[in-house]
């Protein structure tokens, strides 16, 4: 069986003031995560204050963009086409909600190694920010 992933119109995210750098980076093909200079922890999604120690010394770091699939589900009953929602564990540590794209949806599996790819939200008439998604890689 094969269920090729089809392009899906993604909802345009609301850009909150403290996330401008994040969305500017995705447009350049970079995934940023926040790291706290006080406790050293990475976190996702990005906050102004560290969710682990409430320090305001949180800094943007460019993630390697690699990780593995923590869990996933293929939404079979989706219009116009099925899509795969997942959580990916980044190599830096945090898990993030995402979609698995550019791959046969029937061959996605747990712990699969993936790398980040960016898909633009919205459509041609109303384009939105680029959204970090992931696609499986060999190894």
């Amino acid at each position: 069986m094969e269920t090729p992933q089809q392009e899906r119109k993604m909802a345009i995210p609301e850009v909150h003031p403290e996330h401008k750098e994040y969305w500017d980076a995705t447009a350049e093909g970079k995934l940023l995560v926040k790291q706290c200079e006080s406790c050293g922890e990475y976190h996702y999604y990005p906050r102004v204050l560290c969710p682990f120690c409430m320090s305001d010394k949180t800094k943007w770091k460019e993630a390697k963009g690699t990780g593995n699939i923590y869990t996933f589900s293929v939404m079979r009953r989706a219009k116009p086409a099925p899509y795969a929602i997942a959580y990916v564990t980044l190599d830096e540590g945090p898990k993030m909600m995402t979609n698995i794209v550019d791959f046969d949806l029937d061959r996605i599996h747990m712990n699969q190694k993936v790398k980040v790819v960016f898909k633009q939200s919205g459509d041609q008439d109303n384009p939105g920010p680029f959204i970090p998604c992931f696609t499986p890689v060999k190894g």
């Binding site: 909802a11 999604y45 996933f72 079979r76 009953r77 899509y83 898990k95």
Partner: protein, 387 residues
């Protein structure tokens, strides 16, 4: 200060309709309020505390005015489908503190009449912090719970057949409920052959969409003793929210680990003493994970625990959701906590259908997971005793 023994559930009412085309959401709340007060033998004038959640149109201010209430205590705690379980606990706390004596809790909605369903993407709410980092990915109620199911299968070897047993039990109970949305008995094979919605959850792993609602009346001991209803005492409660924790997410367990522990400690009972459980069955996986996390079986063994009819009244060791639950009977406005409480009250009063009535049902537990197991949820636990 404990709520143990301070408050009693005196009135309970489940709206008989599963499709409400001719009345508004506010009218459903009002009909439920009237039903629960009549069940208790109380009147509108007796109510001095009001509780509602996000389904109440206009919130507590609109509803208090609409219902014609004159109250001195309001609480609109919103934790999704578990809200009403938390409301009973909060009502007991308010009664313990002397802030009210007769608390009315209402819920209701009409998602069927309004054409809503669980497979549609969640609504976009402005300013909610996580939304920009989730909404583009198409999270829905079903694919979020499906991710929890995928992980449970991967980590513990839980099977689709085991998930299906939760639905089989629900259908077994629903055949005796004339108001149930789905009354047909189904088999494990029927569940496995129903359409796949979001891997690994089939259509029959998902709760129904239904209109309607329910209401409860919680009163102090003195008032409870003056009424002509069995005494259903609140003996323990707990609530606990859980989310992706800044990226440190662990989707293998629910917050029932915490809410359940708190409730059992307050009540001074253990899982073996629970004769009947109302477990929010938004999806079959939700039941399996709650049963593990509440301590009815070991972590990872929930699949084995629910198999072979163990949840069916008269057959299994732990009868749950004897009205047919959200999977078969009713899931008004996609919030399952209220109907779980109502059936637990029926069981404790020995007013359940004779085919599903649990013998000597003196202690019951209700647990709800509101929100999304694959993102943020709140577990609420309540333990009640018939005295």
């Amino acid at each position: 200060m404990s709520i143990e023994g301070k408050a009693y559930i005196a009135g309970a009412f489940e709206h008989p309709k599963r499709l409400v085309e001719d009345k508004s959401v506010a009218a459903i709340h009002a009909e439920c309020a009237k039903g629960a007060l009549e069940d208790a033998g109380l009147t509108l004038q007796d109510v001095d505390g009001y509780f509602c959640a996000g389904d109440a149109p206009g919130g507590a201010l609109s509803m208090v005015d609409y219902l014609g209430l004159n109250v001195r205590h309001v609480d609109s705690t919103e934790t999704g489908g578990s809200s009403y379980i938390a409301h009973v606990s909060h009502a007991a706390q308010a009664i313990t503190a002397g802030k009210c004596n007769v608390a009315l809790i209402t819920m209701g909605g009409r998602p069927r009449a309004e054409g809503k369903s669980g497979v549609k993407p969640k609504k976009f709410t402005p300013n909610v912090p996580e939304v920009p980092f989730e909404i583009p990915y198409g999270p829905t109620a079903v694919n979020e719970y499906a991710m929890a199911a995928s992980l449970h299968m991967h980590k513990y070897g839980t099977t689709s057949e085991q998930l299906a047993w939760v639905k089989v039990a629900a259908s077994h109970h629903a055949q005796y409920n004339p108001n149930a949305r789905l009354k047909d008995l189904v088999t494990v094979e029927d569940v496995l052959h129903s359409p796949m919605i979001a891997d690994p959850l089939h259509l029959m792993d998902c709760c129904v969409v239904s209109d309607g609602g329910g209401a409860l009346v919680v009163v102090n001991q003195e008032i409870a003793r003056g009424l002509k209803r069995p005494l259903i005492k609140v003996i323990g409660a707990g609530e606990s929210p859980k989310g992706p924790m800044g990226g440190n997410m662990d989707m293998t367990y629910t917050a029932a680990v915490h809410s359940g522990k708190a409730a059992f400690e307050e009540a001074g009972v253990n899982p073996a003493e629970i004769k009947y459980a109302g477990i929010y069955d938004s999806f079959t996986i939700t039941v399996i994970m709650q049963l593990e996390d509440l301590g009815f079986c070991k972590k990872g063994e929930g699949g084995k625990f629910v198999a072979d009819g163990n949840l069916i009244a008269g057959i299994g060791n732990l009868p749950i959701n004897t009205d047919g639950g959200g999977l078969n009977n009713n899931h008004p406005t996609s919030r399952g906590g209220m109907t779980k409480l109502i059936e637990a009250v029926r069981q404790l009063r020995e007013e359940a259908h004779p085919e599903v009535q649990v013998k000597d049902c003196d202690i019951a537990l209700v647990n709800g997971i509101g929100g999304g197991l694959g993102s943020r949820h709140c577990s609420a636990t309540l333990i009640m005793e018939r005295v």
